[in-house]
Symmetry: C2
Subunit: 212 residues, 2 copies
DNA sequence: GGACGCGTTGAACGGGTGTTTAATCTGTGT
DNA sequence: ACACAGATTAAACACCCGTTCAACGCGTCC
């Protein structure tokens, strides 16, 4: 049963969730009928895989540094070749957009907000006008960028070259990201000030949209 | 023939590229056989749709302002309800990652670089150390963020509520983005300087990786 | 020792897919 | 009026899908 689930994770990661039950069954050395007998349906199997991945991520997160956007966490995990299939699975999940993807981005946003708060308290992060919005922005930008990269260049990659590709991705982005974070992009504040003139200060009392 | 192609674009946009030929045929008021007779295969139909979208985008781009990341262009197009299905189609394309998606991101990156150069020349954009890398970073971040948002919250939306959702997305991101662009995120330069100490200056003579 | 339960199989089912084929309809030129 | 070409259709084909079902092997317990 665990072997079936692990084979499913590997297959889903490699070929996406459209892959057939029989292919998974062959990988696990069993029959398609047995798979659905154990997991009820293909969706049940997917749910079991999702649960396992969520548990793994949660466990691994406590062991590793994270910048709240998930990039560092996933990057570190992808470096360790053992975890590469899991990272691929997570990106496939983002690609198809199910419950797991929603939970992950939600959690990344929450983590980002936490890290922003810690950074502000430590005096290394410049406080913003709406921390929640900023956290959402950062996690969406970073996760989405990773997702797009994966869809365009990583989805068809062989599992053994995946860590190398991921490393390249992170390295390519390091300089522009650091530059933007420390120096900004614009020379003067006119655009921001104009925006602030026309829009009421953002965190205006309404603190109700947990996950849009 | 044009009616078939337009129906296919609408269906693809609404339900993704996994939708059956027969559904498209019914929408167009014809038979599945006729579709493949005209376009050779489902893939041929998809290619015809992609070509049409690429032409439309190229045509529309000359008429509208763009920030080089595509966000503004797509946002404006989504506002005009007439174009909402096209925007959905483009996002579906990004989601599945074919030739069109690659071409679009490539073009967005090129546009971004152009706009960065213009901004630097006009004195509103702070020059960076590697303009190409910066352009790639910005276009991937913005496009990817949009893609993730669409996958999580917009893919199942009804076409008539899509423009409103898109508007909300853009508004939610405006403040954190402007803040980051004008003020940066970090208080001091230590992180950037440390990075620059360990990595040779990036545009070190090698100007050969057109689209990674 | 027989009955039960569980893991497991292979074949079948029903449905959906893209594509093919033969026939029909329709219009147009000669 | 006839023939030819293109549009169009309905049916069939071959395949893959997820799921169901009846049977079998095998250990355990009473």
């Amino acid at each position: 049963m665990r072997r079936i689930r692990d084979a499913a994770i590997a297959r889903f990661a490699r070929d996406g969730f459209g892959v057939g039950l029989r292919a998974i069954a062959v990988d696990a050395g069993v029959t398609a009928g047995l798979v659905v007998h154990h997991f009820g349906s293909k969706d049940g199997l997917r749910r079991a895989c999702d649960d396992q991945m969520l548990a793994t991520v949660r466990a691994e997160k406590t062991k590793a540094l994270t910048d709240g956007t998930g990039t560092m966490l996933l990057a570190q995990m992808a470096m360790v070749e053992r975890y590469a299939p899991m990272v691929q699975y997570l990106l496939r999940s983002m690609q198809s957009g199910g419950d797991l993807a929603a939970k992950l981005t939600e959690q990344m946003t929450a983590d980002a907000e936490e890290y922003l708060a810690a950074g502000e308290a430590a005096g290394v992060v410049r406080p913003g006008r709406d921390r929640a919005a900023r956290a959402r922005y950062l996690s969406y930008q970073n996760t989405g960028s990773m997702l797009l990269w994966f869809t365009l260049h990583g989805a068809n990659a062989e599992p053994e070259e995946f860590p190398q590709l991921f490393r390249q991705y992170v390295e390519d982005l390091a300089l522009p990201a650091l530059e933007l974070f420390t120096e900004g992009l614009l020379v003067d504040r006119s655009m921001l000030d104009e925006y602030l003139m026309y829009v009421p200060d953002p965190p205006a009392g309404d603190a109700d949209n947990p996950a849009r």
